[in-house]
């Protein structure tokens, strides 16, 4: 009886591991290799998983942190004085959120079929190549000299390029856009991102003024009546 239970337990781990491998590695790889049909399945056969998208969002943060803190001296590492953990996390999460919202806005204007969760998943799935390649590159960067820098640069470059590749076809897939339409979509998304950032900054300067005004009124009352 005990043996059976144990066996069951180990098979469960096995099952989880194989599912993890399938969802977090095989599927994104398929999406890279089959950019058209892969993303169609992504949308209609619901081959994506929510936990994978969150996993890669977290992994993206991890990858950036690992790269900033652990990269070799020859690629500019060894100096983590300017590294801010909180800022790094916030920047990545906020940029994903802002990009999702901006793309959804543009998508709805141009008759895109994508919904917010889908766009969010596309962006996070697209981090897949960058995450793993940058982690590999970071490890390698500790064992190279300056004349071998190209290995690091090539790995990082491929990671970035594949991420852009996945994002492009992913957004094309979920919005069911044509190739040209998708380019226009992305250009407008960038513009909208800029507008959103502008509005946020405007909001904060406005808030700052209101606060200073409240403070001035408070001071005025305090000095006048107390």
């Amino acid at each position: 009886m005990e043996q059976v239970k144990k066996q069951h337990h180990s098979s469960k781990i096995k099952y989880y591991l194989s599912t993890f491998f399938k969802e977090a590695f095989k599927r994104p790889l398929e999406l890279i290799i089959h950019p058209i049909s892969g993303w169609e399945d992504f949308k209609y056969d619901k081959t994506s998983k929510r936990w994978v998208s969150f996993f890669y969002l977290i992994m993206m943060i991890m990858a950036v942190i690992i790269n900033k803190t652990l990269k070799g001296f020859v690629v500019g590492g060894g100096n983590i004085k300017d590294f801010r953990l909180f800022n790094t996390i916030l920047t990545i999460i906020l940029s994903v959120v802002v990009a999702t919202i901006a793309n959804w806005c543009v998508g709805s204007l141009f008759d895109g079929k994508g919904k917010i969760p889908e766009i969010f998943r596309v962006i996070n799935y697209a981090f897949f190549p960058y995450v793993w390649l940058s982690i590999i590159a970071t490890i390698i960067s500790n064992f190279i000299g300056t004349d071998e820098l190209m290995y690091y640069n090539i790995l990082m470059g491929i990671g970035t390029a594949l991420t852009i590749w996945m994002m492009f076809f992913g957004l094309k897939g979920v919005h069911e856009n044509s190739f040209g339409m998708n380019i226009i979509n992305i250009i407008f998304t960038i513009v909208v991102i800029a507008i959103i950032i502008f509005v946020i900054l405007l909001f904060f300067t406005f808030m700052e003024r209101i606060l200073s005004w409240i403070y001035a009124v408070y001071n005025e009352i305090k000095i006048r009546y107390f």
């Binding site: 001296f73 020859v74 909180f86 906020l94 000299g145 300056t146 004349d147 946020i200 904060f204």
Partner: protein, 489 residues
């Protein structure tokens, strides 16, 4: 909703905490990140010689006969110091103890607003600004030659107004003149004009070029011409390379080292650009970049340059590393304990003199003498040894430097280089990392990697080989067994 608000507020806090760069006050040195950290004092103003304390050899004050006017330049040979007094139209000669010897010219020969000086073994070259000539005197202070406006067609209608001069070993004169945008005037030893030299190229940024597309012909005329950055001063080193300093409109590379073909060959391998202060803002306002008004170079290839904006002397080694900085403008000095006489009002020129640095001030009307502290002497010694490729000796000196100033990253790099050459790779890597010397770090790391790998590689190879042999034997036995089975059947 609560979370969103928290996130947004934390964003404001991060925006508010963006740092401001504030001008450093006391002695400082820049780190590779462009941050200023305090350093030990390297040069101190020990003497200020003005009309009130200028004495002759017998110790009598000379202020009855002569008082300093606006001093524009200072130069020296082995024995004497020559000061160019622009408002009294005189060249003043002091001995090496800063006693007044004489002044010239006298009699018929006069100077008018002399601006620049250069001393060779035989002659004294004076930029006679007001008389549109370069006057050449011998060491008996007699006029022997004058270089007038060049007769070339290019100079038609031009008044030659020389400001600064440097002379090569062969007697070629390099003159910086006012109103000339083509570069340095290069004169043959006989005084005939040879060529323009070391021109600063006029550049148009991408943004300017973009706007030029939308401007009409008249608008462009109204905007005026875009000239290359003006040359401010020059000096010449023992290998006949000409060092020039340009106005900061050049954007960067204010200091240049020109070879005979006027190509810039200055090493810029320092932690930061050798353009003086790195300040971008000062109390919320944009600070001016350094304006170098004079430059001098010594035998070690160390060059010192004088910044007029903040009255600082910057010393760089031949590799472009900032060694130290010193001096201050009286208007900016916060430290009341500093002797006001030993601060700059409007610094004009500097030169190396023996183991001191001399500067002159046109507004303060004085000659300020800087001497090295122990720290400065040690840095100079180490730089000298390093220049002679004597890494081991240099590293000993660098260690002494570090006891005086542990912020001095260059010293770590120096020690690391010596350890690398001695084969002490692990220590070297640590010091080179501290000294931010990527190139030597990489070299040392490769040696270190090779050393480690050569220890491990035979074992790995052996294991792999054994594995291969084992596999081979196994398959061989298997094969044999199968054959045997077939045979049995």
């Amino acid at each position: 909703m609560k979370k969103v608000i928290i996130i947004l507020w934390s964003l404001t806090i991060t925006i508010l905490f963006f740092g401001q760069m504030i001008l450093p006050k006391a002695a400082y040195i820049y780190t590779p990140d462009g941050e200023d950290v305090s350093s030990a004092e390297s040069l101190v103003a020990t003497k200020s010689i003005d009309s009130s304390n200028l004495t002759d050899i017998n110790g009598n004050l000379v202020s009855k006969n002569y008082t300093f006017g606006s001093l524009y330049d200072v130069a020296d040979d082995e024995e004497h110091i020559y000061i160019c007094d622009g408002s009294n139209n005189q060249i003043v000669v002091l001995d090496q103890n800063f006693n007044y010897l004489t002044k010239f010219p006298e009699g018929d020969v006069t100077l008018a607003n002399p601006q620049g000086l250069y001393i060779t073994n035989q002659y004294i070259y004076v930029c006679d600004y007001g008389h549109n000539r370069v006057a050449i005197f011998d060491k008996n202070y007699q006029l022997v030659q004058e270089v007038l406006t060049p007769t070339d067609v290019v100079f038609e209608g031009y008044q030659f107004r020389p400001k600064k001069i440097a002379v090569s070993r062969t007697g070629r004169m390099y003159v910086v003149a006012e109103g000339i945008n083509e570069g340095i005037l290069d004169f043959n030893p006989d005084g005939t004009f040879s060529r323009f030299y070391g021109t600063n190229q006029a550049t148009v940024s991408g943004w300017q070029a973009f706007w030029l597309l939308f401007t009409s012909e008249e608008q462009r005329k109204a905007q005026g011409y875009n000239f290359g950055a003006a040359l401010l001063n020059l000096c010449i080193d023992q290998d006949e390379y000409v060092y020039t300093v340009s106005s900061p409109t050049a954007g960067s590379n204010f200091i240049k080292r020109l070879n005979y073909k006027a190509q810039d060959v200055l090493n810029r391998n320092g932690y930061i650009h050798n353009d003086g202060d790195l300040v971008t803002s000062q109390n919320g306002q944009t600070a001016d970049p350094s304006i170098f008004v004079d430059i001098d170079v010594n035998e070690d290839g160390t060059y010192i340059s004088l910044d007029r904006v903040r009255g600082r002397i910057f010393a760089y080694d031949f590799d472009g590393n900032l060694l130290y900085e010193a001096g201050a403008l009286a208007a900016l000095a916060s430290d009341a304990a500093l002797n006001q006489n030993k601060l700059f009002q409007l610094p004009e020129a500097l030169c190396y003199f023996q183991d001191k640095i001399l500067t002159v001030d046109s507004k303060g009307r004085n000659l300020i003498v800087f001497e090295y502290t122990t720290f400065g002497q040690l840095v100079n010694k180490a730089t000298h040894l390093y220049r002679e490729n004597n890494y081991e000796e240099a590293s000993k000196v660098w260690e002494e430097v570090l006891t005086l100033n542990s912020n001095y990253l260059l010293a770590y790099a120096g020690i690391g280089k010596a350890q690398f050459r001695q084969g002490d790779y692990e220590e070297a890597l640590e010091n080179l990392k501290k000294g931010n010397d990527t190139y030597n770090y990489s070299q040392a790391y490769k040696q270190y990697r090779y050393e480690k790998l050569s220890k491990v590689a035979p074992i790995i190879l052996g294991v792999v080989l054994l594995g291969c042999v084992a596999l081979l034997v196994r398959s061989f036995i298997k094969n044999a067994n199968e054959e045997k089975k077939e045979g049995d059947m």
